[in-house]
Each structure stands twice: as C-alpha cells, then as structure tokens.
Symmetry: C2
Subunit: 443 residues, 2 copies
C-alpha cells in the first residue's frame, strides 16, 4: 500500500482486504477530490471505521463534508461512547439538526429523511422561485430537484419540480405550477413500506410529515436504493435460516457470522428430534420392513422441497405487498390445487422409482429387492409422496401468514424451519399410510 500510484478504483476494490492502517494510509495519499469520491462510495459503517482510523485533526473536515442524513447514518454506526465526540465536530446548527434526526429509528422515514429541502411560497413567480433557490443552495443540498411549497406554519401545499420551474413561463405563480396530489409519509413509517411506495409510484422523493401535518424533511430515491438492497438481503438471509447479517459476508466478524447461524441450527436440531420420535414410534414396522426406512429421505425431501418453494414464494409476495394477510384464503386455494397436481406427478414418479428398482434389482441379483409385495410398497410410496408434498405446500404457504398474524416477520418462515416441521409430520403421515396399506403383507 506504500505505492502512491494506486488508483481510487483499485483502492476501493482492495478495501475489504486492507487493514485499518493500510486504509488510513491509502486514503491519506489520495488527492482531496479523489478522497471525496472514495468517501462518498463507502457505506456509513465503512465511513465510521475510517474516521476512527484517521488523525483526529482530519476528522472534523470529513464530518462537515457529509449531508445531515448521511452524518446521522455514520453516527448511528459508531459505538455509543464515540458519538458525542463525533457530534462535537459539527457546527452548532447542523448538530441541532442531527440530534433531532438521531431520535428516529434507523429504519423509519424520520431516520432516512434529510431535514434540508427547498421551500417556496405559493405566491412567488417561477422566476422569483428560481432566483430564491439560487440563494439557498446550502439549505437545499439534497433535494433541489423538487421544491416544496409550504405556508407559514410549514404545512405542505404542493410540490414543484425544478424542471417545471425552469420550463414554465417566468411570471406564472408557483401556486399554478405546483402539483397538489401528493404522497406523503409519517415520521415513523417503516422503511419497507416506504420502499414499496417509491416502487409503486415511481417517485424521486417523498416528503415526511409530523402528526400535525407539518413537513419535517424529505426522503429521496437514492437513499431508498440502499433500503431495497438491505431489505432483500435481510429476507434472503432469513429464508436461508440465518439471522440477517449487518455487514457484507467477507467483512462481518467471525463471531457475528457464528452467532447469527448457530442459534437457528441448534433450535432446528432440537426440533428435528420430533422426526426421530415419529420414526421411533413406528420402530417395530421399520424393523419388519426395512424398505420403509430406506425411503425415509425421499419422502421427507418431497415434503421439505415443496414446502420450501411455497414459503419462499409467499414470503417474497408479502414483502412486495402483492399478498396481504386477508389474502390467505386465496393463497391456500391456489396452493392446494398446485400441491395436488404436483403431488400427483411426484407420486407417479415415486411409483415408477419403486417399480424400476424392483425390475433392476431382480434382474441383477435374481431375488426381488422388496420381496413379493413390491406393488403394495410402490402404492405406499406413491400415495405418501402425494400426501406429504401437498402437506408441505400447505404448511409452507400458511406459516408466513401465521407469523404475520402474530406480528412476527414472515421471512422467519425459513426453508430449514419449514423443512424441519414437515419432516416430523410427514413421517407420521408416511408411516400411517404404510400401516394401512401394508398391514397383512409386508407388516
């Protein structure tokens, strides 16, 4: 890292691999404009770590370089005891703004918004408005693409885009140009709901209002882009049976990587004892017909796989607000139909597997591998696969609704959880069917 010829892009590329010292050194070797580019491209956590590493004298400049909403993100990433020192680096006005923003949770509209937005009065002409905006650049850092028309009490009357101002007749009143059918959110609107609003309405910015209808700030689509990725990443991690990681895979501390994974695995292992108990209840049958034991992995995999499909489809549809709690009956009707048809196809394959095995086994060894009652075994496997696949589909699709109804995160209905639940119950179904069909023949 001592060669000063490293480009900005190379430095970013190598960033996760560098030690704190190498980062500090690399950063300090960059020209100011390159350093600003690099700083902009780091996320809040990385910015926070970098600030901790660079000399104290350089910290002030970088804290003041950030827009208020980005400074808030950075401070939220720092340890509690470091926050006052970081706040002290700011000028008093910004510090007040940021203290106000820090009161919001990171994942709600108040925590994502910038308090600096361009304000106009309804009676200004568009020419006056442009001249006015030119004078208040610092105040309007984030959001000059839209200017918000407010009355003296900060009640929002309308919005006008810079484009409309520039392309409207100079003497027209802002009131006549502004749009009034606005989508706004409250300070405590969750970031997932917010991101759905941006996506559904193709918006560039959404104003945030307090309870009394006064405008507090604005969330812009570039802030939401990160939310989209975060939300999807969290859901994917949960679907895979891991608690959501807070940092990129290669950067997350080993301890976090371990603790976020072992909890679910250990819990699922204990839950998995239910499957062993189910099997042990039928131990006698398994002893007299070992063939039944052989097909255990196939039966539980059918149920687990069907359940995993159903649960991931429903969890994703819920996250995108395509499916709501009240849609459960429409979902279950679809899933029962799909599950039945898929089960029938898989069950037929299962029958084919047993019959094929019988033919090949008999051909190779001269003795039928499952004895004389292979047609009954084939029927048992076939019917069990139909039933267990259907059951997996129903359980997998309904578990997210159950969690949502209990105000829990539907994404906790992970692939491993559904598979584990369906394992134990599926085995009971399988062996009951076996008892019924094979009683008097193999059993």
């Amino acid at each position: 890292m001592s060669q000063p010829t490293l480009t900005n892009a190379e430095l970013i590329e190598a960033w996760p691999l560098l030690s704190d010292e190498e980062r500090t050194e690399g950063f300090s070797l960059l020209e100011r404009s390159d350093a600003e580019d690099l700083f902009d491209q780091l996320d809040a956590r990385q910015q926070s770590e970098l600030l901790r590493a660079i000399p104290a004298t350089a910290r002030r400049g970088w804290m003041r370089y950030l827009d208020p909403d980005d400074a808030v993100d950075l401070i939220q990433e720092a340890a509690d005891e470091e926050r006052p020192a970081l706040l002290d680096l700011l000028d008093p006005g910004t510090r007040r703004e940021i203290n106000a923003l820090l009161a919001y949770a990171e994942d709600e509209a108040g925590g994502l918004m910038s308090p600096r937005y361009a304000r106009l009065r309804p009676n200004m002409s568009t020419d006056e408005a442009i001249a006015y905006l030119r004078r208040q650049t610092r105040q309007t850092a984030e959001s000059i693409y839209y200017a918000y028309v407010v009355d003296a009490d900060q009640h929002l009357l309308g919005v006008v885009s810079l484009r409309e101002l520039v392309t409207s007749p100079p003497q027209q009143a802002v009131r006549e140009v502004m749009a009034t059918d606005l989508i706004t959110v409250g300070e405590d609107t969750d970031q997932e709901e917010l991101s759905n609003l941006f996506a559904q309405h193709d918006l560039m910015a959404i104003p945030v209002m307090d309870e009394d209808g006064r405008m507090k700030g604005v969330v812009t689509v570039d802030d939401i882009v990160d939310v989209f990725r975060e939300e999807a990443t969290e859901d994917i991690h949960k679907i895979g049976g891991t608690e959501a990681l807070d940092a990129p895979y290669l950067e997350v501390a080993f301890r976090e990587l371990l603790t976020k994974r072992i909890g679910w695995l250990a819990g699922l292992l204990m839950l998995g004892v239910a499957a062993v108990l189910s099997l042990s209840y039928f131990e006698e049958q398994l002893q007299s017909a070992t063939a039944l034991a052989l097909f255990v992995p196939l039966i539980i995999a059918s149920g687990g796989n069907a359940g995993t499909q159903a649960t991931t489809l429903v969890v994703r549809a819920m996250a995108l607000e395509e499916v709501r709690l009240r849609d459960w009956s429409r979902v279950i009707r679809r899933e029962i139909t799909v599950g039945l048809v898929m089960g029938a196809i898989l069950g037929t394959l299962g029958v084919g597997i047993v019959l094929g095995w019988h033919l090949v086994g008999t051909g190779l060894s001269g003795t039928p591998p499952f004895g004389d009652h292979y047609p009954q075994l084939a029927m048992t496997i076939g019917i069990s696969i139909v039933t267990v696949a259907l059951w997996g589909t129903i359980a997998g699709s309904m578990l997210p609704f159950g969690l949502r109804a209990l105000n829990l995160d539907p994404a906790s209905s992970s692939a491993p959880l559904v598979a584990t639940i369906v394992d134990a119950t599926g085995l009971v179904i399988y062996l009951m069917i076996a008892l019924f069909i094979l009683k008097g023949t193999m059993l």
Copy 2:
C-alpha cells in the same frame, strides 16, 4: 364495478381481483387526470393488458402518453403479433426511436435507457444553457435533472446537473461547471451490474454509450428501482427452488405457477433416489441396529440446514458483488472454521439427545431403548453431526462458485438442491462412521 364513486386508490387495490371487463369499465369511468395516475402506477404488463381491453380508438392516446422507454417495456410485454399494431399508433419519430430500442434485450442497459436526454454544448454559458433547456422540453422529458455535454459527434464530454446550472454564475461556461469523471455503461451492460453501479455510487442517472463512445441514452434511478426488486425476487424464487415467476404470485397463471415449480421438484426427487441408494447399501446394518435408521432425519437435516445457510449467504453476497469468483478460497476458509465450530456445538447437542433419550427411555420403560451400547451410539451421532454439518457448509458455500465458474446463475444453488445433494452424501458419511464405531458392538 358500476358505481362511479370508486376512487383511484380503491381501483388499484382491487385491480388484481377484477376481470378484464371490470378493468376496462373502471378505467373508462375515471377522469383523465385520475386515469393518467392509474396508468402510471400500472407496470408494463398491466398496461399492455389494459390497452388490449380498451376500445381501439382510445389506444392511440395512451401509447403516445408514454415516454419512449416505457412504451418499449409495454410493447415487449405484448404478444409478437400485436406489436406492429401498437407501433403504428405512435408518431413516426417516436416509432423510429422505439424500433431502435426494441433491438436491445429487456434486461440490458440499452433496453432500459431512454433515448431522450438533454444535450448541451461546452461553450454555452449557464444562462444560455437554461434558456436552451426550456425550449427543448419534449426532447428532454426523462432526464432534465442532468444535462449531458456532448461534441458534434455525440461524444460525451461531461455532465452538469440542473441544480448546478441554476446555482452557478449566469455567465460561466458550461465547460467550467460540468463534471468530467463520469461513470458510463455500454449498451449491453446487464441490469444486475447496472443496479450495482447505481447502489455503489449513489447515482441518479447513468449515460449509455455505444462502442464508438457516442452517447445513446440515459438510464435513470427510478427505472432501476424496479430492477432491484425484480433481481431480488428472481434470486429469492430460485433460492427457494422455483424458477423465477414473471408476475406477482396472485396474478401469475396457474399453469405457469405449476410448470415453474414441478420441474425442480421432479428433478430433485430423482436426485433424491441417491439418498435411498446410499441407505440401501447399508441395509444390513440398518436391520441389525434400527436405532441408526431412527436418526437418519436428524443427520440429514443437520447437513441440509447448514448447507442452506451457507448457500444463501454466498448467493446473496455474489449478487451484491461483495464476493467474486476469485474470493472462493477466502470463503472456504471462513466456512470451514464456522462449520467446525457449529458442528462441534451441534454434535455436542446430538450426544446429549442420545444420552437424554437413553435416560428418559430407561426411566419410563425399565429397559434401555438403545441397549447397552448407547455410549457408542451417542458418539456415532455426535461425530456424524459434526462431519455432516461441516460437509453441508462446505458444499453449500462452494456450489454457487462452481455454478458461477461454469457461467451459470449462482442462485440456482437453491436450498432444496443443496439439501438433496447433502442428503445422499451425508448418509454415506453417517453410516461409514457408524460402521467404524459400532463394529463389534451394535453391528
């Protein structure tokens, strides 16, 4: 649907539930401005369906209402035989633009870009530039937030934001205000790479260049928001073992829902026969020690769950470009360490389960459920869980790398696929360990 009192929001809410006739009727009852709002909020597929349903006389107005990149999306959603008729509704200039755009794939930069962007010359003053932009509003519909400074051959020299134009001294040359360190993409840049660029650099728009460095159009962040959701949805569907659905869960046709799910399930069922074969190879041992059969679900679940975690973490990290192909050795080192520690914890739990079972079983029935050799059985289960969990972690984390190396989609390394692969191999590991430890005692 005959009450004209239905609001715009209610109509959108009810949209998926309505028949084509109800949609047409509802839409026709709206005032023009409400109808425009509704039309804007529909996605390209829904717009295309609506256009098919409304009277032919109304179609022309709606096709011409759309920006070129949105019109392209709509036409791409229509059936091949309907496209010429839709193109004929456009004015000749727009039709030429759109025919050019239709040559690009939907999921690459050329297919997402708008060909209309604001062009400036480097020697204009900022005042001239603003006046010039005022005159060319139609040409600049999408992207007037940025104006692109090009030479006579359409080579891109720099970019200036409308904000910078408005806030710079009126007589300053555009050349002095523009930024020149630009991020651009080629026409065939994939949408996933494009969305990563937007996220990493917090951009509002990215210019698209042809091979000769001429600017062809611009992709804006609001177009990319949908891409983010689509890409994440596709990955989640694949992780769950389903081919990605093309439409929201409740709207997708039953036939598609079925065909996108049964293929993987049927394939996995056939692959699952490997686990049955593994077990049957050890049939003799299973017969003499039924307890071994009882723990089959627990052993394969440990491997499957650990593998599911590892594969989803790696698949997501690859999608976010946090992990690249060359990082495989760093990933495998992490996963071996995590897998060993998790395996040790789970293995200890496994030993506890067998010993606890022994104690409870003996207490309840008077006879030890696993006979006298329960310590050996506990050791077998413990060591098997350590080994199979470690193996699942390694297999799950490396499969996405294998797929990427073969230029396949890493997200195809789904939870069910990893679980099924680990099932068969894990059983062989389990029963080999059992043979080794229990030889001479239970076996």
